[in-house]
Amino acid sequence: MRTKRKKTVRCDEVAKYICERLDEHLDSQRCRAIRKHLQSCSDCSRELANLKKVIALYRREAVPRLTPSVEKRLFSALKLDR
């Protein structure tokens, strides 16, 4: 009887995966193996957490509002009424 080979992954594969497909919830055998690896490897899970923090920092950053003077300049350059 054939036994199903378990897919294992190395830390460098995990690093590449989390940097390329962080927010893609794929369900392949490789992805499941990576998720399993992350549960048991503190180095990889720390790197993943750090990466998520970096993204969150940029994502939640406030963007200055468009000021009335900038909008006025824009509409004037386009010769449009506001």
Binding site: K16, C19, E20, R21, L22, R46, E47, A49, N50, L51, K53, V54, I55, L57, Y58, R59, E61, A62, V63, P64, R65, L66, V70, E71, R73, L74, F75, A77, L78, L80, D81, R82
Partner: protein, 204 residues
């Protein structure tokens, strides 16, 4: 948070009328997307004045090229193509100006220290809390500015489109006229670079 206005039937009608020379329709399109374009430009160039210039150049180009928009792509994808081109053009122009300034410096003139010509953006309303918070926020903002400004422009644009604006790899590929694997490769390099740049701040 997705910053783009979702397309509606009304939008295609506005585009159609604007293409026929209806200034009111074009004005409505500008109103609809001006904050999106300005916000994206600011996230890429980290400078309010440069974002305002990019905003203006983008809509001037949109007006000139509206005839070329065939409706096969989403209007927002087409708009992002124009704004990203403007960001890249501005970067090239600044590189040339920097090279000219370097030549001047070699002849004894002073040169600004910031390679991007970026000036710190003003304190934003949402950051205003206590003086201590303000200090921490200012420090963090400067760190984020420094790190992202060190990224090559193509990686920076991919990072902003994918991770900050939440666009898909497929849409980013259309906007940048790249393959999806090329987008993913740039994104991976950008993420690794930023994580290394900000390691001390985010290390758990």
């Amino acid at each position: 948070m997705r910053s783009l206005v979702e397309p509606t039937q009304h939008e295609s009608e506005l585009v159609r009328k604007a293409r026929q020379g209806d200034k009111g329709a074009f004005s409505a399109l500008v109103k609809r997307y001006e904050s999106t374009v300005y916000g994206f430009a600011f996230k890429v160039c980290r400078n309010q004045e440069q974002a305002a210039e990019t905003l203006q150049d983008t809509f001037v180009n949109v007006y000139r090229k509206l005839d070329q928009f065939d409706g096969r792509a989403k209007f927002s994808t087409w708009l992002y193509q124009i704004v990203t081109n403007n960001c890249l053009m501005k970067r090239r122009k600044r590189k040339i100006e920097e090279a000219a300034l370097s030549l001047d410096a070699a002849e004894g003139e002073k040169v600004g220290a910031d390679p991007e010509g970026a000036v710190p953006h003003q304190a934003l309303a949402s950051f205003k809390t206590t003086p201590q918070d303000e200090f921490v926020n200012k420090e963090l903002r400067e760190l984020l500015d420094e790190a992202i400004l060190r990224l090559p422009m193509d990686q920076r644009i991919v990072f902003v489109l994918r991770d900050v604006e939440g666009r898909s790899s497929e849409e980013a590929a259309k906007i940048l006229k790249l393959s999806v694997p090329a987008v993913k490769s740039r994104l991976r390099r950008a993420r690794v670079f930023l994580r290394e740049q900000l390691r001390e701040y985010v290390e758990t």
